[in-house]
């Protein structure tokens, strides 16, 4: 008999899954690492530097916020790392070093922490930061270059490690500023052509101009498989989003089927579908809500890509749908098991 023993007393259930918030965030970081590696290989060491800078500023911004507001330090849940990585991967490889800092601080301070921190942000912090940077530094955010020319054998260690963009990248012959495939697709679509000239293999490997994390479709798909197998993200969001994008490509473009794969594999659609649209806090919590949200994002993306003034519309689409999430969730509130419609009230009785 041991009367003095202390046992934990709590409400049921007494057992739980081993998946914790921190672990989820680390899994997402691992999935993002695929894209980070791909980006580094494609565009050189400076890309990695940009992403790490974004991560450091994001974590620093959150720590600073906690210190200023005298709140418990929340950086250990690793969510700031995820936000920082996504901000960094959304930058073009030529971005000046202050862009990741401004972007991350904006994402963490304004979008995340001011609205209550983890899980309370009304919109995806990284998407908001990207849109902010895009509007504030439009030319710098769209200064894309072609990847290092591995096939031509012109890549030296010096090229790979050079911090060339800080100084002057235009002087180096190897780094030709390049148009993204999106620009080509858009031009073809506006010209009313029934097909577009894009090398799909290049799109898969990422041998094109674009943002650091977005270009290599294979890396993104690997990350997506990792997250879906571990059930970190809801597979329905990318699936419905991609289907919706494909469907609206079919509708909006002349001979739409020729545009489906070029559209899906270029630009930020894949990256957005896997890492940004699936953000927990800013995606719906209801089963049907998730489907409406992803389908709606697909519609807006394709509207902007086909008819809008910009080549890319993914972050705008994500942001717009984020703002609709509370409404969608309210409309899609699930009926409880065994729910029966209450008998209709007669008019006039209610008052």
């Amino acid at each position: 008999m041991s009367e003095s023993k202390r046992f934990i007393v709590s409400s049921s259930p007494h057992v739980g899954s081993t998946l914790f918030t921190q672990r989820i965030m680390i899994h997402v970081c691992i999935a993002l690492t695929f894209c980070m590696i791909a980006g580094t290989v494609l565009y050189g060491f400076y890309s990695l530097f940009l992403v790490l800078l974004a991560v450091l500023s994001a974590v620093g911004a959150e720590a600073l916020y906690c210190v200023i507001r005298k709140k418990p330090l929340t950086i250990w849940d690793a969510s700031a790392i995820v936000t920082g990585m996504i901000v960094g991967l959304n930058l073009p490889p030529t971005a000046p070093f202050y862009l990741p800092i401004v972007g991350s601080v904006f994402a963490i301070m304004l979008v995340k922490m001011l609205f209550g921190g983890l899980g309370k942000n009304f919109a995806n912090p990284a998407a908001t930061a990207r849109v902010f940077l895009l509007l504030a530094w439009t030319t710098k955010m769209t200064a894309f270059i072609n990847p290092l020319d591995y096939a031509g054998g012109n890549v030296s260690a010096g090229d790979f490690f050079s911090f060339r963009f800080i100084v002057d990248f235009a002087n180096k012959a190897n780094y030709v500023t390049g148009a993204t495939p999106l620009a080509g697709i858009k031009a073809d679509a506006i010209a009313g052509l029934g097909s577009t000239e894009v090398n799909l293999l290049d799109l898969l490997l990422g041998n094109v101009g674009g943002s650091i994390g977005e270009v290599c479709a294979i890396a993104i798909i690997l990350g997506a498989i990792y997250l879906i197998v571990l059930k970190i993200i809801d597979w329905k969001i990318p699936a419905v989003y991609l289907t919706s994008c494909a469907l609206f490509t079919l509708i909006f473009y002349k001979n739409g089927w020729n545009y489906i794969l070029p559209n899906l594999l270029s630009g930020g659609i894949l990256f957005g579908a896997v890492f940004m649209l699936t953000d927990y806090a800013s995606s719906p919590n209801t089963r049907w809500g998730v489907i409406i949200y992803s389908a709606g994002a697909g519609l807006i993306t394709m509207l902007i890509r086909r008819f809008g003034g910009m080549n890319e519309g993914v972050s705008f689409a994500i942001l717009l749908m984020n703002l609709l999430v509370p409404l969608i969730d309210k409309a899609c509130r699930p009926k409880p098991f065994g729910y029966k419609k209450p008998p209709k009230k007669k008019k006039g009785v209610e008052a």
């Binding site: 049921s12 919590n285 409880p336 065994g338 029966k340």
Partner: protein
């Protein structure tokens, strides 16, 4: 055979390997037993013995005080020493009848029933104080006496809670008795069909039940998918009949009555042997117990005697009466075995979730696993803000408190507690 199941739910580690091979053993009874007068749902029984009375095993010591109440019987023979206030598993101080055990176990049983009629069976069930022995302890005679026409009696052999192996052992070791009990129950409610649902991880039990029921066309044995909460009444009916019990309604509205294996065995003992309900089979398990076991134990035996008998480790962190998903955690070993004690679990640190809750990350895992189609994260957020009126559309009253939401929550928020709080506040404020 395609496994029958319900929608959503979770797959917790079942941990049944700790005790599923342990045959039942009789737990020795100590010098005194403390039998609570409230062992069931509904009003407590009123004592019908006086201090100093000599009672035998099976002597009625508490009389059902209303319709939804149960008789209580002595589990030992000896002198009634008095009425004491003791804490029950819920932490409430209630009256227990203290009986000094004289060790003779003289029996005071009822005569066995031969070819009983429906009314006799219900009367016997009431007299013997049967209550649902899965944990909710709803008086069985109330279920048997319902007025709706019954399509089928559903026997719940799913035992979906982790750790517990009582019903599994009963289906294997006492299959004949269980089957007889099931037949008595079916006769008592006038059910033309009997469906027995057993989770697929208990394949020996399925085989054994198929063997003993072979040749009887009115009994069907179904294999159910191993998923929690497969044994929830509404989930079980949905799995077997694909019908949804209306919110706020009872299974009998659809023509079903759900009873579990232990209750069937108690019915057999009450009718064929005349034994009132004074003992039960239970599982004692968890990594904190030295020797996990399935035991036969008399009511009123304090848990401390059981754990001393089987031995336990020093680093036990949590003691649970019932299963780990829906059971009640105890702060001491003082509560006693009652009609609803399906298990006693002693868990150590690696088995429990003893981390502080962090902020909700809105991942929607809770809503995605909820078998009742609720949104626990909304109830949690609103109840903490005291916005009780706004909770209503999220239907916390439909919650069956199965614990799936809190199990999967990566922030480890006490979502079930919030649901309970919301229910209580809604009822109190009559919203």
């Amino acid at each position: 055979m395609r496994l029958k199941t319900f929608k959503f739910g979770i797959h917790p580690k079942d941990m049944k390997e700790l005790s599923h091979d342990c045959k039942f053993e009789e737990m020795p009874t100590g010098e005194k037993v403390y039998i609570p007068l409230a062992q069931h749902l509904g009003t407590p029984a009123s004592a019908c013995v006086e201090v100093g009375d000599y009672v035998k095993v099976g002597t009625k010591i508490g009389e059902a005080s209303s319709y939804v109440s149960c008789n209580v019987h002595s589990s030992v023979s000896g002198i009634v020493e008095g009425f004491v206030l003791r804490e029950n598993a819920m932490g409430k101080r209630i009256r227990h009848v203290c009986i000094a055990n004289d060790g003779k176990y003289e029996e005071d049983f009822l005569p066995p029933l031969e070819n009983p009629t429906r009314e006799e069976l219900v009367a016997r069930c009431k007299e013997c104080g049967l209550a649902g022995m899965g944990g909710a302890t709803f008086p069985t005679h109330v279920k048997l006496e319902n007025k709706n026409p019954i399509k089928a009696l559903i026997i719940n052999g799913s035992e979906c809670e982790p750790y517990i192996t009582t019903d599994y052992r009963l289906m294997i070791d006492k299959s004949q008795e269980v089957l007889e009990g099931i037949r008595y129950l079916a006769k008592a409610i006038g059910a033309p069909e009997i469906w027995i649902g057993i989770e697929a991880n208990k394949d020996d039990a399925i085989e054994e039940m198929l063997r003993v029921t072979a040749g009887d066309n009115s009994i069907k044995v179904f294999a159910l998918k191993t998923k929690y909460p497969q044994g929830g009444e509404k989930q079980l009916i949905y799995a077997l009949a694909h019908q949804k019990v209306p919110a706020g309604g009872l299974p009998s509205d659809l023509g079903f009555i759900v009873l579990n294996i232990s209750t069937a065995l108690a019915m057999y003992e009450a009718c064929a042997l005349g034994k009132p309900l004074f003992s039960r089979y239970m599982t004692v398990s968890g990594k904190g117990i030295n020797r996990p076991a399935n035991i036969w134990v008399r009511f009123g035996v304090p848990f401390v005697e059981i754990v001393d008998y089987l031995g336990y480790r020093d680093d036990v962190q949590k003691v649970i009466s019932g299963g780990p998903m829906m059971g009640v955690s105890l702060h001491s070993f003082m509560p006693v075995v009652t009609k609803g004690s399906s298990a006693l679990l002693l868990l150590i640190e690696e088995e429990i979730r003893a981390v502080d809750p962090t902020t909700c990350i809105n991942c929607a895992r809770c809503a995605n696993v909820c078998p009742m189609g609720l949104m626990p994260m909304m109830t949690d957020a609103l109840v903490l803000k005291n916005m009780i009126k706004e909770i209503k559309p999220y239907n916390p009253l439909s919650c069956i408190e199965c614990g799936c939401c809190a199990y999967v929550c990566p922030a480890k928020r006490p979502l079930v507690q919030s649901q309970r709080l919301a229910k209580k506040l809604i009822r109190e404020r009559k919203l």
